[in-house]
C-alpha cells in the first residue's frame, strides 16, 4: 500500500476528484494548505503600502492505494491537475505500514 499526497492548485480539485472517481478510487481526504515552491508568492497593496504574500493557497489531496493501482492513480492526478503554468504542485508517494477501518476494524487492503 502506498500513500499519495498531492499538492495541487485549488481550482483543479474538481477535475482531480472526478478523474480519480472515474478510475474507481472510492475515497480521499483533502485539506486547504498554504505553501510555495518555485512559484513564490506575490505582492499585494494595503493602504498605499506593498507587502509580499509568501504562502499561496493550495489543496492537499491524500489517498492510500494498493501497489497495483499506484501508477494509474499518479498518471491520473498528474494529468488532471496540470495547467502547464508554474505552481501546478507536486505529488509525494510513501509507504504505509497499516490501515484500519474504524467502523469494522478491518485492516490492510480491505480497509482502503
Amino acid at each position: 500500500m502506498k500513500k499519495i499526497e498531492a499538492i495541487i492548485k485549488p481550482f483543479r480539485l474538481e477535475e482531480v476528484k472526478d478523474a480519480l472517481a472515474h478510475i474507481g478510487i472510492t475515497g480521499m481526504t483533502v485539506s486547504e494548505v498554504k505553501g510555495y515552491g518555485r512559484q513564490k508568492g506575490h505582492s499585494e497593496l494595503y493602504r498605499g503600502a506593498e507587502y509580499v504574500v509568501d504562502f499561496l493557497p493550495k489543496i492537499k489531496v491524500e489517498l492510500v492505494v494498493g501497489d497495483e493501482q499506484l501508477e494509474q492513480v499518479l498518471d491520473t492526478i498528474t494529468e488532471a491537475a496540470r495547467t502547464g503554468k508554474i505552481g501546478d504542485g507536486k505529488i509525494f508517494v510513501s509507504g504505509i505500514e497499516k490501515v484500519i477501518r474504524i467502523r469494522t476494524g478491518e485492516t490492510g487492503s480491505e480497509a482502503i
Binding site: E44, L45, Y46, R47, G48, A49, E50, Y51
Partner: protein, 393 residues
C-alpha cells in the same frame, strides 16, 4: 398647539441623538474589521467601555462644565442633554481607534474619565457653550456647526499625543521598513464606515438645533444633503487617486476618504450652496490618501487611519469655512477659523499629552510585546472573538 415647536424640536433632538449613537457600533465594527482577529474582543470592549464611561462623566460633570447649567427653553432639557451626550463618546472613539491592537483597557478608561468629564467639555465651553474665554484675547470666533474642530480634531490631537507616548504596534516598523498588517474582515469595515456615514446625518443635521419652522427645516435638509455630498466626493476622489497611483481599488482607503469628506464638511454644512461640498469633500478624500502613507513614514502607527480622517480633515474642514463661507459681518473669517484650530490644538494636545504621560507612568498604556504577540483578546479580556478552529460544525 402653543408647544408645537418645543415638541417638534425635542423629537428632532431625540431622533438625531439616536442616529449619532449608531456611530458607536459604526466605530466598533470599523475597528473590529481593520485589526487582526486576535485583538477583536479587546477593540470592542474598549469601544463599549468608553461610550459608558464618557457618557456617565458627561452626565455627572461634563454638561454643567460645558454649558454652565441645565436649562433650555427651545426643547426638553433632557433631549438637549442626550443630544450633546451622544457626541462625547465620539471624541474618545476617534482616539481609541488609532491606538488599537496595543492599548490596554484600564488606562484608556481612566483617560476617558478626563476626556469625557473635563477636556472635551472645556473645548465645548469655549466654542459652543458658556464661553469662559469671552472678552479675552483668546475668545474663539470660529464657526464650527457640528465639530470639525470641537470633536474631530479634538479627538485627533488626543490620539496624536497617545501615539507619540505609546509607540507603534510590535513589529510594525522593522529595520526602518514599514511592515504591513492587513485588515482581518473587510465586510465589517464596510458596515462600520457606512453606519458612521448614516450617523453623520444626525450629527450634522441635529446640530442645526431646531427644525420647527420652514426656514429651519430647509437648513436641516440642506445640512444633511451637503453632508452626504461631501462623503460621496471623498469616497470618489480617494478611489480615483488610489487607482491612478497604484492601479488598485483599496476599499479601506475609499471608506477612509468618505469619512475624511464627512469630517471636512462638518464645520459648515449649513453655510454652503449645494455644489461647494463636492470640492470640500474631494479635498478631504485626497488629504486622506496623502496623509495615510505620510503618517506611516513618520512612524506614527495608526491602524484605522484616524489621524488622517479626523485630525487632518478636522483642521481642513474648519479652515474651509473661512475659505468658502467667510462672512466678516457675521464674524466668520479665515483668521478666526485658524485661531480656533490653533487654540484647541494647543489646549487639547498639551493637556492630553500631560495626562497620558502621567497615567502611563503608573499604568502603562501599551501592552507588552508578549501580550501583543498572544493577542489582547486573551491577555486583556480572556475571551477570543473567534475561538473556533476554523469554523464550527
Amino acid at each position: 398647539m402653543e408647544n408645537f415647536g418645543y415638541i417638534v424640536d425635542t423629537l428632532f433632538a431625540l431622533f438625531a441623538m439616536t442616529l449619532i449613537i449608531f456611530m458607536v457600533p459604526g466605530f466598533a465594527m470599523l475597528e473590529a474589521g481593520l485589526v487582526r482577529t486576535k485583538n477583536v474582543t479587546s477593540v470592542l470592549t474598549v469601544n463599549t467601555m468608553i461610550y459608558a464611561v464618557a457618557s456617565v462623566m458627561f452626565l455627572l460633570v461634563g454638561y454643567q462644565l460645558a454649558f454652565g447649567g441645565w436649562e433650555n427653553s427651545g426643547m426638553s432639557i433632557y433631549a438637549a442633554f442626550l443630544f450633546q451626550m451622544a457626541f462625547v463618546g465620539k471624541t474618545v472613539n476617534i482616539m481609541s481607534g488609532g491606538v488599537s491592537e496595543r492599548v490596554r483597557i484600564l488606562p484608556i478608561a481612566l483617560f476617558t474619565v478626563l476626556m469625557g468629564g473635563f477636556i472635551y467639555p472645556l473645548v465645548v465651553n469655549v466654542s459652543w457653550g458658556a464661553d469662559l474665554l469671552a472678552g479675552t484675547v483668546l475668545d474663539l470666533t470660529m464657526y464650527d456647526l457640528a465639530g470639525s474642530t470641537v470633536i474631530h480634531s479634538t479627538g485627533g490631537w488626543a490620539l496624536l499625543a497617545a501615539i507619540m507616548i505609546m509607540g507603534p504596534r510590535k513589529g510594525r516598523y522593522k529595520d526602518g521598513k514599514i511592515h504591513v498588517i492587513p485588515a482581518s474582515n473587510i465586510p465589517l469595515v464596510v458596515l462600520g464606515a457606512l453606519l458612521l456615514w448614516i450617523g453623520w446625518f444626525g450629527f450634522n443635521g441635529g446640530s442645526v438645533g431646531s427644525i420647527a419652522s420652514k426656514e429651519n427645516a430647509d437648513t436641516v435638509a440642506l445640512t444633511i444633503m451637503n453632508t452626504n455630498t461631501a462623503g460621496l466626493a471623498g469616497a470618489l476622489i480617494a478611489g480615483i487617486f488610489m487607482y491612478l497611483r497604484y492601479r488598485k481599488f483599496d476599499i479601506t482607503m475609499i471608506l477612509n476618504g468618505a469619512l475624511g469628506g464627512l469630517v471636512a464638511i462638518t464645520a459648515g454644512p449649513d453655510l454652503y450652496d449645494i455644489h461647494t461640498p463636492i470640492i470640500i469633500g474631494a479635498v478631504g478624500g485626497a488629504l486622506v490618501v496623502i496623509a495615510v502613507p505620510l503618517f506611516d513614514r513618520l512612524k506614527l502607527d495608526d491602524p484605522v487611519g484616524a489621524l488622517s480622517v479626523h485630525l487632518v480633515n478636522g483642521i481642513w474642514g474648519t479652515l474651509a469655512v473661512g475659505i468658502f463661507a467667510a462672512e466678516p459681518e457675521a464674524g466668520i473669517t479665515l483668521l478666526g477659523q485658524l485661531k480656533g484650530v490653533a487654540v484647541v490644538a494647543v489646549f487639547v494636545f498639551t493637556v492630553s499629552y500631560a495626562a497620558i504621560y502621567i497615567i502611563n507612568r503608573f499604568l502603562p498604556f501599551r501592552a507588552g510585546d508578549d501580550e501583543q504577540v498572544e493577542g489582547l483578546d486573551v491577555t486583556e479580556c480572556g475571551l477570543e472573538a473567534y475561538p473556533e478552529f476554523k469554523r464550527a460544525f
